[in-house]
Amino acid sequence: MEVKVLSAKFDIADAHLLEVAKQHGAYATLEKLFAMPPADVIDEVKNSGLRGRGGAGFPAGLKWSFLPKGLDKPVYLAVNSDESEPATFKDRYILTRDPHLLIEGIIICCWAIGCHDCYIYIRGEYTTQRKALQKAIDEAYDAGYLGEKVAGQDFRLDVTVHRGAGAYVCGEETALLESVEGRKGQPRSKPPFPAVAGLYGCPTIINNVQTIASLPFIIANGADAYKAYGTEKSPGTHLFGISGHVERPGMYELPLGLPLLEVIDKVAGGVWKARKLKAVIPGGSSTPVLTPEEAATTTLDYESMAAHKTMFGSGGIVVLDETVDMVRLVKNLIDFYHHESCGQCTPCREGLGWMLKIVKQLLNGEGTTADIDLLRELCDNIEMKTVCVLSAACTMPVRSYLDKFRPEFEAYAADRAKTEAA
């Protein structure tokens, strides 16, 4: 089932080194690229159907076309390497195993959008990954792939790595921009969208690492070659991360559209310890959970996920075996989102803390069924009332656990009832 498009060089020894990477085709697309007018590059990417691989799945080429034309301002590219959504661990493979693929993608994107200054925002926790990336960038500068004349062309491109420092919310594109500008990572209200007024008030494109790393293949082989993978509406391949209760957790490149359970079984070795499957989180912790019945009809693409009222997200699949206590899992989730709430909007700032305390109360045997109802109601009250979707990233999954596994929550409420009766 696995394919090697993005991950083609992942298993080649020392492919992170320019010398080795070049032997295996790195930067080979540049000659073709610089012969293409930027508009043609955008069209090619549009035609490929490449969708943003950070989680939102917005068509990449379309995003680029939102840049206003003829502005007397610089255009910026911000590469989102914040990768902080729980269960997501794909981009770092690119950073450590094939960083030149990313750099090549950056050159392609910058040529297409007329950008000369690119910032790669990497989460602070990725220490070794940052070093690997910086080393590759330094190599690329030395080899003339970055700097005043990219590959000898009259085209300047500077790439700077900007380190985050422990804030999930900076994966939200405008929070990321705020962070580069030296502020707290608090998302901006939109409009204006970054393509119009982004970094330093200038038109800015923000793309995920994997999205950018997908570009060399598309330019080298054409949109059709890319579309040969995946489904009609979800073309291409994706670096899926499979974690949790499986025999062989890990990162696997797969075409989109494969059956979820088959992937879990065949690629990741199935549920570990011969246990039964309880549920699957399909695309990172913020995506609503699927029961085994739902998972059985789900395929790994945007449209199937939507049909199952969940999301493709970041492609971080988490398998939950029969032993998982869903109330504790929900506490773990809310803990995360509460910890990461930027503190800007009232509903998220105050609401997630309240939800966390209610779940804790339930776990302590001090909750009632009214608390479960309140928790469920708070999901509705908080969701989509905020500047960004961090609160929804918490309430959407929590609602799904409450709805699909309510008896488990009620059992905790019954504990209190029992204690009181005694």
Binding site: S189, E340, R349, W354
Partner: protein
Amino acid sequence: MAETVKLFVNGQEVEVESGKNLIDALKVVGIEIPHFCYHPALGADGNCRMCLVGIEDGRPPLVPACKTPVSEGLKVQLDAEKIRKIQHDVMELELINHPIDCPVCDQAGECALQDYYMTYDHQASRMRVPQVVKEKKLDFGCGVVHDQERCVLCARCVRFTRLITKTGELGIVNRSDEARVTVFPGRQLDNRYALNVVDLCPVGAMTSRDFRFKQRAWFLKRSPSICHGCSMGCNIFIDHNREKGGDDLIYRFRPRHNALVNGYFICDEGRLTYHQENEGRLATAMVDGKDSPLDQAIEMARRKLENARKPVFLLSPNCSLEQMLAIRALAESRKARLSGFSDAYIKNGDGDGWLIQDDKSANRAGLELLGIDTAREGFAQALEDADLLVNFNSMRIVPAAAELAGKIAGLTTIAISSHNGPLTRQAAVALPVSSYSEYGGMVINTNHILQRFAPAVIKNQPAPDMLDLLRQLGCTLTERTDLGKAMQQAIPALAGTDMSAFPAEGLNLKEKETDHVTA
């Protein structure tokens, strides 16, 4: 009104000024959209989420009103069930970690949380878990005291120090529900406008050490007035109250919006000048340093003035235009030399190019307009052979006239004064007069804005009005109608102006003159 657009609110068509956001534009036509973080001087931040409104057929269907400009045909939903629910839900979330101790909160009675609770929430708390604990009674400097638990994190105060004073002392540290407003240790509030954060704070998180717990908000009468602390003439509210058995006292000044003059703010120094209206007042008339019945003292002053051969009148640059006109008229009839010498009101280099001016007087432009000499030489010369000095409430004469002090000391003086001062103590006759919080009149600020103010405070035993005293001293120009005519003569821009329709923002005399020229 400038250009307008028509839009629909709850299905009803309304016409509003274009170029504004929904909150400001609809406020003008009497439609309130609740909000905490938005403030017209600080712009839209969008963090409180209280102003979310529905847009029919809109994408997105839910928008913050503070960030949404009015546009033709926009269909705004304010009373839709879903919007009411959002307001209710946001209020609930605002309140879960907020102390519910309004009875002991200084903000009670003028608190947005309280008001909105009554309008939009009105439910018992469903919070059965412990609240977030933060710090209280933090000294932020400049007399600002902060309570982190009462704070709703609207960031108005933070934005004020970053955008307006550009001193940036305040910040919101941490994130999630641990977020809190604070100062960096050792870098407290240090700007001359800091107390504005108390007014800006929609709740009781920012309090003024000077005002807190002195008076409940609902007891205060709010009278519009004009600060006399400097020549900016900032518009203020005088918040005052007569407690049972006490006198009418001022508890605070607050800024009153005037786009022509001070915008939304006032300086701290001016704000605290209210103390001077309460304290140090000349309470009784005095003759030769001894208390005297007022009528006898007035009679004494009248006779001294009548008998003087070479009287000199010194008038305060704080006098209203009406007072100046009347004093000038009396000077003419008594052949007195008139001086507006008042260098001591000027503190060179103190102004900041914004609201704070070097000139600490309210109506120097009035002196200039009426052609009253303010030069030291003129005053010194006049004193040379003077036999009487009548001081019309000039409070700052001695420091700037040290070498004149001896001369003055040798003179018979009549001090007509609202406050105790060096000249009142040595005066042959000292007559108390009301101060600007107690009378009405007109002043012209440093930017040539003519402004009118009304009496605010009514003392139990009011000091005589300056015009009243002047009449008793023989001045014939003290009647309102006569003064009105004299004013129109003195100020061409006022000719033909219906004074009952005098613009609330004041009148820009410079602009008016230009108008005349171009017309």
